[in-house]
């Protein structure tokens, strides 16, 4: 027997964990297996593996999920050891029980460049003044992920606010509004829309004097960096209170008998010392933290607020993120942003839906099922002889049929089934077609709101048409150019032009996303402009369109190159002698012969484009405020970032399916008419 441990650490923290495990093995003789799970997939892996008995004995992760996981039965309560900092135990307490052995605590602190800032600011006024002093062309006095609710927590709490009050969002409270106003005053000194990577880059290049981030940021730095607690909010006299995450060793049900012993060893003084000295962790055990960064973290922890464990906090964060983006962009005043955010949250968190009676649905489903079975039976019955004679042939297609059934039909039917339910705080409630009615009548939003189905449909149709038009134009033009006799190095060009297709599309999308960066992006540098590409609908749409055109034209080019080969050169020469110039030849001879060959590619390309999730998700991510969201990415957002409304999202998916079904029926007819 051995104790299996899942964690998402890397670098020094991972090494320290392994060392601690080795020590424990030596002392106890118990075998410990340390398994690294990628951070991005950690939660979903836990939620799928553990309930099916495929989980580990011990999970090492932050405390934010204990609310959900304790409900799901993914983790077990325990009695923590003595000698821990009380606030770490408190963070792991939910419903009166403690759900893990606290190991370490982390929170954002104020990080600064000691070469530039001699004395860290003690108040926000001082911080603003320092930031102003160190802001110039390409330089920022302060850099942090200002548009995320997580980092905003420090100010929100400092102004006396809280994201949830008694389980309800308080996004429009006076302190919330004040905190938004404060962020607006920071905006001139902040980079636009920074990601964690961008903040790191700014600091490493010496272009950010102060940064708000946590110990993970320090671990990745190449230049000296100093830490201090976040400043006191001048307006209230209260300290800024960032969110605190407590990492813990949690026990999974059915764990090995030695799992608790290992968790206790890790949390205890011996394990803590190893993790502190080798992994540079601010450990939960009450041992001295003398390293300046760890000391700062300990000091910061005194005012920090544990990240709420309420599952609803995610929805409130989503609404808060939106408000922050809008305020930082200057799109709306802090007051309006606060009110909008609260209204948005209300629309996301729906009251418990009225369950519908499944009876009429069951009757209709039974009727349809019988009808289908009857039709299938009749179809098979009338073809028995034919089936018998071709039995081997049917056998050959059987594996593919099974694969399609399992991979396409089953998920589709499950998805369609889920669309008849509403998800409410993790429960499924049967609501019949209510999700569809809700979506198609745009019950929760005005038609012109980016959240409405019809707005997204309009964007998606415009997106598809614009893309396909550009793909065809560019693809055909390049294919024609490649045919010209004066082109040298033709194979090289052909290979180069197919390259965008050969590179995995998510990589391409990420590269374009970086190129459209407002401060550092290659696009703005080339244009010599300062366009905030994700700040307005048309700019963001253009950025998405550019990316997807880059991805899409090679396909059309390759199809065109093939189709052009089938057009005899004679025809063009005949037209040349008949007196046709280049464009006349293209219009009257080449295009009429090319178009029928291109039509199937256009049909296929438009379906791909209609459902082009990757580009929208990775380039604009729906910015600004969901305006560039497509139907498919809307469905994704409803399922995964706006409170897990799986039923609602499935209804979206089913509607998308029917839209595309109708489209394919129309185009099939077009294609059939085109056949000679």
């Amino acid at each position: 027997m051995s104790v299996v441990v899942w964690h998402a650490y890397h670098g020094a923290e991972e090494r320290a964990l392994q060392d601690a495990a080795d020590q424990f093995e030596k002392q106890s003789g118990v075998d410990v297996q340390i398994v690294a799970v990628p951070w991005g997939g950690f939660d979903s892996k836990v939620e799928t593996a553990v309930p099916r008995g495929n989980g580990p004995d011990v999970l090492i992760t932050g405390h934010a999920n204990i609310g959900k996981w304790s409900k799901l039965g993914v983790i077990e309560a325990l009695t923590p050891i003595e000698g821990l900092r009380p606030f770490t135990v408190e963070a792991l307490t939910y419903n009166g029980k403690v759900w893990g052995e606290p190991l370490a605590f982390k929170s954002p602190v104020l990080l600064y460049d000691p070469a530039v800032i001699k004395v860290p600011p003690r108040t926000t006024d001082e911080m603003l003044a320092l930031a102003a002093d160190h802001t110039g062309p390409g330089k920022y006095g302060l850099a942090y992920e200002a548009s995320t609710a997580y980092y905003h927590g420090a100010w929100l709490h400092g102004f006396g606010g809280s994201v949830l009050v008694d389980g309800l969002a308080a996004l429009d409270s006076a302190p919330s509004t004040e905190a938004l106003r404060f962020v607006a005053s920071l905006a001139p000194y902040l980079p636009t829309r920074p990601t964690a990577d961008r903040v790191g880059q700014l600091y490493d290049d010496g272009n950010a004097a102060m940064v708000i981030s946590g110990p993970w940021f320090v671990a990745d730095r190449t230049r000296p960096i100093a830490a201090a607690t976040l400043p006191i909010v001048s307006a209230t006299g209260q300290p800024a209170r960032p969110y605190l995450t407590v990492e813990a060793a949690m026990l999974c049900p059915g764990h090995d008998g030695q799992a608790l012993a290992f968790a206790e060893y890790l949390a205890g003084p011996e394990g803590a010392a190893i993790r502190r000295d080798e992994g540079f962790q601010a450990v939960a055990a009450d041992v001295p933290l003398t390293n300046p960064l760890l000391a700062t973290l300990a000091a910061q922890a005194e005012s920090a607020v544990p990240l709420p464990v309420d599952p609803d906090v995610q929805t409130a964060f989503e609404a808060e993120n939106r408000a922050l983006r809008r305020v930082l962009r200057g799109a709306v005043s802090p007051e309006n942003a606060a009110q909008e955010a609260q209204a948005y949250w209300k629309s996301l968190v729906k009251p418990r839906p009225e369950p519908a009676s499944p009876l009429p649905y069951a009757i209709v489903a039974t009727f349809l099922g019988l009808l289908g079975a009857g039709a299938a039976g009749r179809a098979i019955g009338s073809r028995t002889a034919q089936i018998r004679t071709n039995a081997t042939d049917y056998l050959w297609v059987l594996p593919a049929t099974i694969a399609v059934f399992v991979l396409v039909a089953v998920p589709f039917l499950v998805g369609a089934g889920v669309s008849l339910f509403a998800t409410w705080q993790g429960d499924y409630v049967f609501v019949g077609l209510d999700n569809f009615v809700n979506i198609l009548t745009s019950r929760d939003w005005p038609l012109t709101s980016p959240m409405s189905f019809f707005y997204a449909l309009g964007v998606t149709v415009a997106w598809t048409m614009a893309n396909v038009a550009l793909h065809v134009t560019l693809g055909v033009t390049l294919a024609l150019a490649l045919r010209e006799p004066w082109i040298r190095l033709r194979p090289a060009f052909r290979a180069l032009l197919v390259l965008p297709w050969a590179v995995p599309s998510y990589i391409t999308a990420l590269i374009w996303r970086t190129m459209f960066d407002a401060q550092y992006g290659a696009v703005n540098q080339l244009l010599g402009a300062q366009i905030d590409w994700f700040g307005s609908f048309f700019a963001a749409f253009a950025a998405n369109l550019t990316t997807n055109t880059w991805l899409g034209f090679p396909f059309m080019m390759v199809v065109t190159l093939g189709a052009l080969q089938a057009i005899p050169r004679d025809l063009e020469e005949a037209a040349m002698i008949d007196g046709a110039g280049y464009f006349t030849r293209f219009r009257h001879v080449v295009w009429p012969l090319l178009a029928p060959a291109l039509l199937p590619a256009v049909v296929m390309g438009s379906v791909w484009t209609f459902n082009m999730f990757i580009v929208v998700r990775l380039v604009s991510d729906g910015e600004p405020d969901g305006a560039t969201e497509l139907l498919v990415s809307q469905a994704y957002k409803w399922a995964f970032t706006r409170g897990n409304l799986y039923g609602y999202a499935s209804a979206y998916a089913v509607i998308i399916f029917f839209v595309l079904l109708a489209y394919s029926r129309v185009t099939a007819r077009l294609l059939a008419r085109n056949k000679p």
Binding site: P568, L571, E573, A574, G579, A580
Partner: protein, 345 residues
């Protein structure tokens, strides 16, 4: 008006020389045939006249104009392609009208021109069809119709008959001849078929390896081939050729004394067309009959003459036995320089 003049035209594709200093003067209204094996450069030469290929060196004149750098559409030429190159998505009527339509001619003029051409070629009943709905011969006519509808100064034909079966080809040959009489245009016709060249051309141009071997009327070329290549290429069966040694009045071919009409001194290649081999009793030379080819209205006997072979054209009504000895003599003979291949007087 539509005289064609080529001055030292050269065409190279990379390092390959396809046409080597071709000089040619085609008179207005002349029907000239470019003849040669495939790959000899005849189609390239035609495409240089059309402007579909740029010449590497030299000049091309059509009428009074130097058109070397003029695009095909401004050369006032029409071309019939071997594949016919009909626009597959247009009806016959539109195929015919296309050249006039893109020149924005008045509708009435276009309709009249299409009708004239269709009547002339007997394709008026096909005007509404698509090329895919036509037979090979009908497509051929439409292709010709497309050329004549514009009344160009020069008509270019690139192997126009090679995709037709034998009887249709014969028929179309006559049609082409008639067409030429009616239109009085300058016709340039490319073919690898010597019968086509002999029957159609006012003059023919023999090409080999991108070099003009001989230009002349079919009669000239047949009667006085300029070199061994022409001698071998024109005439079927091929001209009999032997290495000969002349010494005063005596001429010997492989140790056998032969009787030639005009003896000459030295080594040379002796050529006698099968027509000019006469089998007669009492003739000076003897050979054995090896094979008899009877073609109905004519016949050829293949003779073994020592180690040499002789082909003779004979009266099909005369019977010969294989293995029989016959006596023969030569009528007209040709002499060629063995090393250079050129004709000797």
């Amino acid at each position: 008006m539509a005289r064609i003049r080529l001055d030292a035209v050269q065409k190279r594709f990379g390092a390959t020389r396809v046409l080597d200093r071709v000089d040619l003067d085609v008179a207005d209204g002349e029907y000239i045939v470019l003849l040669g094996r495939s790959g000899c450069g005849k189609s390239t030469l035609l495409r240089c006249i059309a402007g579909l290929e740029e010449v590497s060196e030299g000049r091309v004149h059509i009428g009074d104009r130097d058109v070397t750098d003029v695009s095909p559409r401004d050369r006032d030429v029409a071309m019939v392609f071997q594949s016919y190159a009909l626009y597959p998505h247009m009806t016959v009527a539109r195929n015919l009208a296309f050249a006039l339509e893109i020149r924005s001619r008045p509708r009435a003029e276009i309709d009249a021109a299409v009708k004239d051409a269709a009547d002339l070629l007997d394709i008026a009943h096909l005007l509404d069809r698509l090329p895919a709905q036509l037979s090979g011969g009908q497509r051929q006519r439409v292709a010709m119709g497309r050329a004549i509808v514009r009344r160009p100064a020069v008509f270019l034909f690139d192997e126009p008959l090679s995709n037709l079966d034998a009887s249709l080809r014969h028929h179309m040959r006559l049609e082409l001849k008639r067409l030429h009489k009616r239109l009085r245009g300058t016709f340039v016709h490319v073919t690898h078929d010597q019968v086509e060249a002999m029957t159609l051309g006012d003059r023919m141009v023999l090409l080999d390896g991108g070099v003009v071997q001989q230009v002349g009327s079919p009669r000239d070329v047949y009667e006085t081939p300029a070199n061994l290549f022409v001698a071998k290429f024109i005439g079927s069966p091929q001209m009999n050729l032997w290495e000969a040694q002349g010494h005063g009045a005596h001429t010997r071919v492989q140790g056998v004394d032969v009787d030639v009409p005009v003896p000459a001194d030295g080594k040379y290649t002796l050529g006698v067309r099968p027509n000019d081999v006469r089998i007669e009793a009492g003739a000076p030379m003897t050979a054995k009959v090896e094979i008899i080819e009877a073609l109905g209205d004519e016949a050829f006997v293949h003779l073994l003459w020592g180690e040499q072979r002789v082909v003779a054209r004979v009266d099909p009504r005369t019977a010969y036995d294989v293995g029989e000895d016959v006596r023969f003599t030569f009528g007209r003979a040709h002499r060629f320089d063995t090393t250079t291949g050129s004709r000797l007087p």
